[in-house]
Symmetry: C2
């Protein structure tokens, strides 16, 4: 049995105790942008329940064009007003450089990705970079509360980046 | 108190019962790509525990360049092998067109986004589109198990898209 089949079997148990449906717009009017890291269960870390917040995730929790797209839709069409950014300790993005990652792909498949891999060397600095990218975008209208945090994978604690 | 402050207070309770740290690579070698929708708690829907799977999310659960970047890092650097795609019923992406959304932004702020909004009219078709984009990418190496599902927000059930 594949892992996918195993997770589908888990879904049957979820259905048994499901109590929805809930409304489409997030009831707490918050959008979270976080790293895809497996150890970062955003709902549990923030005590969120189903229906309360949009959750946007990618490698690093960085802000690229696709996160601006998602935040624009989140705020303009679904009414979110606060943004929470979450990077974390022991992140894979700290372990390589864009140059070496893209070179390894080029060597293997013959073409170099036309995108930045978005690796970084400093967690706090990259959180501030992500906040800056949102602040710089004309497409995200509500910028009153954009706050950035680092999640400690050893303790579960969020620390705000000054 | 802002919602962000309220969620930070929740984090203190999470820290109290935290039992990490866990290893960096996802132990089930799976990456999930899902919509950012607030009602879709990916860990609960699939019965995932912390540390088991990468979770990538955006508006629609669509595959753009940033999801290819995340999947490339997930597979090449962190060893995931299976991909699960999840769209869902009652999705906001079904409620507008790219043309009207981008026109409304242009009318308000004076510049039209250079990106596609990625709205769609058919859930199953868009899941297949997302699978196709991954299959077409030279940067995602492992394509043996790429399966797509629609999550029913009324029942909690995942249905595989043929």
């Amino acid at each position: 049995m594949s892992v996918t089949d195993e997770l589908l079997a888990n879904n049957a148990a979820y259905v048994e105790q499901f109590t929805g449906p809930l409304p489409l717009p997030p009831s707490k009017h918050v959008a979270v942008v976080a790293c895809m890291d497996a150890r970062l269960d955003v709902y549990r870390v923030l005590g969120l329940n189903e229906g309360e917040a949009h959750v946007i995730r990618n490698a690093g929790g960085v802000v690229t064009e696709d996160e601006i797209r998602s935040l624009a839709i989140s705020q303009r069409l679904l009414g979110t007003k606060e943004i929470i950014l979450i990077h974390h300790t022991d992140c894979g993005m700290l372990t390589f450089t864009d140059d070496e990652f893209k070179r390894s792909i080029q060597d293997e498949v013959g073409v170099k990705p036309p995108w930045a891999a978005e690796s970084f060397k400093d967690l706090d600095e990259d959180v501030r970079q992500s906040i800056g990218r949102i602040r710089n975008s004309p497409y995200v209208p509500v910028k009153d509360s954009i706050r950035g945090f680092v999640f400690d994978v050893a303790t579960g604690k969020l620390t705000e980046v000054a």
